[in-house]
Symmetry: C2
Subunit: 203 residues, 2 copies
């Protein structure tokens, strides 16, 4: 779920990952996690550091109007279930794939933030040697982590043992913390070389 | 442009790359190039060969209705310009990025099929060591090629010299032909090891 840390001013987002939230202007401090990442990806792109984009929200289009002398208007459409994660791209020859999630919890990250299709997609990408991870923001603590998808998958598979969340301490131990800045807003790629080493170590 | 080779039965596609075309059923022979590629990507995914997806068409959502006891309906939205190519994913550690185009021409491929943002995206991905190419279908000849993005970029930059298309002979020389089959419908990944060698040779 996207929370708006400044409180009370969030747009009524159409879906938790709707890219239309970009249409609203926020002070940097009040950016949603998605906006922070998009902003950072713009920086990485323009500096030639990496090419990473958020995928558009998948839409099933049912009815389109083509008015004369103006652009096509979609009159009826529905949100569809995505079959992948939200972000992917390329960094120095590596295929990079991640999902971004926020929680207001202070001591653990609830697994209900994920869906089976995202876990399956991570498994598929890992088997093709992709660099897969989650960006987790603890909004109440204002702390950010990159956390390897391989660890997430292990916890997901263990849900039977009534452990429905990942403890913050586990994320501190196996993830990599990074700190918001000016440019980029979220320097998450700083963690990627470390993640690549860990992923290659896991093999 | 997507053509429907069987003629006279094509859906009124909402945009040239609308993924909603999947909702229509065709005989395999009458598949659009997009459908042939999506079908092939499904095969590659289920066989564990590669994870490659078509990106959803980007939509700017303006108005959404939330009826009680039924799903949200988008009542007003507009097509947006994409900032990337249509397909990307991961194959054996390689970042793969491509665009698919058809032409009815028999002797050359018109460059007007491309947009500047696609060329720029290819340039960005190549500088990050991505494997970038175009799948070109000559519908009148029923011939399919993988063609390196690096060559496309060279021709694009030379448009001043009044050469507004790439000759079929050039595509035969620098691209790799592949032949439609049963599973996958378009075995385009057969060409990728060859493409990787050529791309690495270009460096």
């Amino acid at each position: 779920m996207i929370n708006y840390p400044n409180g009370g001013g969030g747009p009524s987002s159409f879906s938790k990952d709707s890219s239309t939230a970009n249409a609203f202007s926020f002070s940097k401090r009040g950016m949603s996690l998605e906006q922070e990442i998009n902003d950072s990806n713009d920086h990485y792109l323009h500096k030639g550091i990496a090419v990473i984009h958020k995928k558009p929200t998948p839409i099933q289009i049912v009815n389109v109007d083509y008015p004369k002398r103006s652009r096509a208007v979609i009159k009826e459409a529905y949100f569809r279930q995505a079959s992948t994660t939200d972000y992917n791209g390329v960094y120095n020859g590596y295929y990079v794939d991640f999902e971004a999630k926020e929680t207001r919890n202070k001591t653990s990250f609830p697994l209900k933030n994920f869906h089976q299709h995202q876990i399956t997609h991570f498994e598929n990408c890992l088997s093709q040697k992709g660099i897969c991870f989650v960006i987790i923001k603890f909004t109440s603590l204002n702390r950010y982590f990159s956390y390897p998808a391989s660890r997430l998958i292990k916890h997901w598979r263990n849900q039977e043992d009534s452990r429905k969340s990942i403890k913050l301490n586990e994320i501190i131990d196996y993830g990599i913390e990074f700190y918001p800045g000016f440019r980029p807003t979220l320097p998450y790629l700083e963690t990627i070389n470390n993640l690549i080493q860990r992923i290659e170590y896991d093999k």
